[in-house]
Amino acid sequence: MTLREKLSHHWSTWALLCAVTLLFLGAGCQVKATAKLPPGALNTFDADSYRVLSDAHAVVQSIHDDAAAGKVTLNDGQTALINHVIADDNTADHLYKAYHANASGDTTALSQAIQQLISDLASLSTAFPTQTAPATPPAK
């Protein structure tokens, strides 16, 4: 098995593990129920949701900032995908803020929004230039 085939095999493996992980998160982001709550947290769900959203927000904001600064050039499809993830992130953040402020007790909608955000963030891999042109000329 060549290294490239090996890498493709591994990629399939983690895609599956990714899906399993998202199922865990969809069950309520409570994979670390025994962890000590940080200051400001209402409960474990609140703390775990904030942690996931903070990480995702940092990723989305960073990609947004680099694209806005021209560090990476986006085509129309990439721009649309990233804007979709930005919309997911804003929606999930708003739902979280409502939950945290006790304005909403809707954990189901928040969990679904987080799951959607992570799923769409993962789908960004399809937008990146993973298939670079081989540097070797084709065999004659």
Binding site: L3, R4, L7, H10, W11, T13, W14, L17, C18, V20, T21, V31, A33, T34, P38, P39, G40, A41, D46, A47, Y50, R51, V52, L53, S54, D55, H57, A58, V59, V60, Q61, S62, I63, H64, D66, A67, A68, K71, V72, T73, N83, I86, A87, N90, D93, K97, H100, I118, L121, A122, L124, S125, F128, P129, T130, Q131, T132, P134, A135, T136
Partner: protein, 120 residues
């Protein structure tokens, strides 16, 4: 460790694996390919640890350091596609910011950090 960081690392690893045909001609091969392989092979373990609630901070930090090393070596190679390299660097920065956000989120819950992001 949240799935956002691992998602970004997964994307970077996928991009790096796409660079392998060019890297093989670049003279950087041995160390680069070993690092890429290590990053890729480590990810299933990280995802499994995450799903079982285990701590993966050290492993993710190691993967980030490996990615930085690959990005640094690759950036010095003028034969590589600059568009791809720019994405590697952008995603590397994003992963590091996510790691910092993850640490901060474990120390304090502050929803005011979740400001709206403007569309591009």
């Amino acid at each position: 460790m949240s799935p956002a960081i691992l998602t970004v690392i997964s994307i970077i690893a996928q991009i790096l694996s796409g660079l392998i045909p060019q890297l093989k001609l670049s003279g950087l091969t041995a160390s680069i390919l070993k690092l890429v392989d290590e990053i890729v092979t480590q990810l299933p373990t990280l995802w499994a640890a995450l799903s079982s609630g285990g701590s993966t901070t050290l492993e993710v930090t190691a993967a980030l350091l490996a990615i930085q090393a690959v990005a640094k070596e690759a950036a010095a190679d003028t034969n590589l596609d600059p568009v791809t390299l720019a994405w590697v660097q952008t995603l590397d920065t994003a992963a590091q910011k996510a790691l910092a956000a993850d640490t901060a989120a474990q120390a304090n819950v502050d929803p005011s950090t979740l400001t709206d992001i403007e569309p591009l």
